[in-house]
């Protein structure tokens, strides 16, 4: 095996992994804080991609410029989802929250299909598209490099927010013990809403970055949603650092699987790896 190909796989995988990580961090945050698996997470990503797509196609606003707008919109969607839906099912027995987010995901996906048809769409002529950059005598698309760096930065920002700021401390306190946090004067409701918004904002960024090099269609969220779940579980539910490393691992494995086995099996390899790792580490790589 040629060393350059190996390096290419590793670095491409790393880039993809950074994006997976950002998507997964949004999901694991919500899970860690309020014990809810948001099955509509992938659909939020799809919405973000469509927003950037349409802003570019209709008004020629580059995805990089629509990124801040997307963050705000997706944050608002997250907060709205919390107040309208999640809040009402938070204390419901067992599987109700799962049912609610599934219902939401089916609703969003099919509404998108209704409005925008199931066609695959891709943008052409954005600032970042169609350029390549040479790194260590390997070629990469600028859009992917930018998406990876951007995702890494935002992931770090979320990490900083959770672990270094006062709001972050309140979020962590609510995750640890809801009743006690309430007694300490933390507005649990607001913290939950903020966390849900933050989860949305993560995919808002990811969507704007991905549309530069990836196609969008109403079902795009399903695949990334499932990958995000696997990433989150692999890293240990609720574990931000875990999700980051798991995302990178999955990115590399997926790329390598596509090259060494067959493109059709690249996700199969990821799922098999997940099952193998979980049989040794039943709570994920970083779980305890």
């Amino acid at each position: 095996m040629d060393l350059t190909i190996l390096a290419q796989i590793l670095i491409s995988g790393l880039f993809m992994g950074m994006i997976f990580a950002l998507i997964a961090v949004g999901l694991t945050l919500i899970w860690g804080v309020m014990d809810i698996l948001n099955f509509a997470h992938g659909e939020f990503l799809m919405l973000a991609m469509f927003i950037s797509f349409w802003m570019f196609s209709l008004w020629s606003i580059d995805p990089l410029l629509s990124l801040p707008f997307n963050v705000v919109v997706l944050f608002a969607i997250g907060v709205g989802t919390y107040y309208l839906i999640i809040k009402r099912v938070l204390n419901a027995p067992g599987l109700t929250a799962l049912l609610a987010t599934f219902g939401l995901s089916i609703l969003i996906k099919n509404s998108a299909q209704f409005v925008w048809t199931p066609d695959f769409r891709q943008i052409q002529g954005a600032w970042l598209s169609d350029h390549t950059v040479e790194l260590f005598s390997l070629n990469f698309s600028v859009a992917e490099v930018f998406a990876a760096i951007g995702s890494g930065l935002i992931t770090y920002l979320v990490y900083y927010l959770i672990f270094k700021t006062k709001t972050g401390r309140a979020i962590r306190a609510s995750a640890l013990d809801r009743q006690t946090a309430l007694l300490m004067g933390i507005h649990i409701d607001r913290i939950y809403a903020f966390t849900f918004g933050l989860g949305g904002a993560c995919v808002g960024v990811a969507g704007s970055l991905m549309i530069n090099f990836y196609y969008v269609f109403p079902g795009v969220g399903s695949l990334f949603g499932i990958l995000a779940f696997v990433t989150v579980a692999l890293g240990g539910f609720g574990n931000i650092t875990g999700a980051f490393w798991a995302g990178i691992l999955i990115g590399i494995v997926e790329t390598a699987g596509g090259v060494f086995i067959a493109p059709a099996f690249k996700y199969t390899v990821v799922f098999i790896l997940y099952l193998i790792i979980l049989s040794f580490r039943p709570k994920g790589l970083f779980g305890w």
Binding site: L99, G103, I106, F229
Partner: protein, 319 residues
């Protein structure tokens, strides 16, 4: 089967009346759509009840039941097509294979708790669909049409008339109802509920949790595969997206949870609401390719989960 608990179920006047009404319903109208909806209702009620054994009673949420459904469907058609084995035999063989696969999957994944278990079953379902998609022996993504044979009971094949399928579906429906009722009242049922409530406490009381989860899983997989074979013989064409996709797993879970997971009645309530809604809206609106039927489906699930968090069964419990 015909033991005390089944008699107790039959002695409840409501049960016999409802089963009687269900049996008479297809005679009300010759309309093919109507009969199709009834058959799909019985199929999904049975699937959902099968899932309920492991997902509802034992609380082990599986998103991998499409695997068992698909195994049943493929077993029936592959054995018929390549070996000329009657689908009735194929049904049992499919059930057997599904049970073995359930054991193979169960050993590693039953060690996982809660969401780790759920995501693992997701992974299994995705792997299986991908494998069948690329497996030439079963025609991969092209799919497998049933061979054209004479309409006969032994061939499990009728082209114009839906009534034979209704009768067979009805028998399957009633059998699974009795079985679920039996398990609900049995020692196994209590063990499973104990496992759901608290696996550690159950273990502490001397319940071999892995063993009983496995029993529930194997039974559930076997019954799900029977339903899969039934579906294959009913539609007479299968491909991985129609019998192995995650959507099937999810639909089974949604029907059960919407009705009320962990209760015998839940799956019937869930499919009585969701299946006619989804089938009729698909018949009326699905042809547009706009997904209007699924928009309604999603919206309904969302509304019910928000306003009736216990599932439809909550309506019956409130006084």
């Amino acid at each position: 089967m015909m033991d005390a608990s089944v008699w107790a179920l039959l002695k409840k006047p409501g049960v016999l009346i409802i089963l009687g009404i269900l049996f008479l319903l297809p005679f009300l109208s010759e309309n093919l759509h109507f009969r199709h909806v009834l058959i799909m209702f019985m199929l999904f009620a049975s699937l959902s009840q099968a899932w309920n054994l492991i997902g509802g009673f034992a609380g082990q949420v599986s998103f991998g039941h499409s695997t068992f459904f698909g195994i049943g469907a493929y077993a029936a058609l592959v054995l018929l097509k390549k070996y000329g084995i009657s689908p009735w035999g194929g049904m049992l063989i499919g059930g057997g294979i599904a049970a073995l696969v359930a054991i193979a999957i169960g050993f590693p994944v039953f060690r996982l708790k809660g969401h780790y278990f759920a995501i693992s079953t997701f992974a299994v379902a995705e792997i299986m669909e991908r494998l069948f998609m690329n497996w030439d022996y079963v025609e991969g993504a092209i799919g497998l049409p049933a061979p054209v044979l004479e309409e006969k009971f032994i061939h499990f094949m009728w082209y114009k008339d839906k009534m034979p399928y209704f009768y067979i579906g009805f028998v399957l429906f009633v059998l699974i109802l009795f079985l679920a009722h039996r398990i609900d009242r049995s020692r196994l049922g209590y063990y499973l509920r104990a496992i759901k409530q608290s696996p550690d406490a159950a273990e502490g009381l001397g319940i071999d949790t892995t063993r009983y989860k496995m029993i529930a899983m194997v039974l559930s997989a076997f019954l799900t595969a029977l339903c899969g074979s039934f579906y294959a013989q009913y539609i007479l064409y299968i491909d991985p997206p129609s019998v192995l996709s995650l959507d099937i797993s999810i639909k089974i879970v949604l029907v059960t949870v919407l009705g009320g997971a962990g209760t015998v009645l839940g799956p019937y309530l869930g499919s009585a609401i969701l299946i006619p809604l989804s089938e009729y809206s698909r018949i009326l609106l699905g042809g547009t390719g706009k997904g209007v039927d699924l928009i309604l489906f999603g919206a309904l699930i969302l509304v019910i989960s928000v306003y009736q968090p216990q599932g439809l069964i909550g309506f019956f419990r409130k006084k």
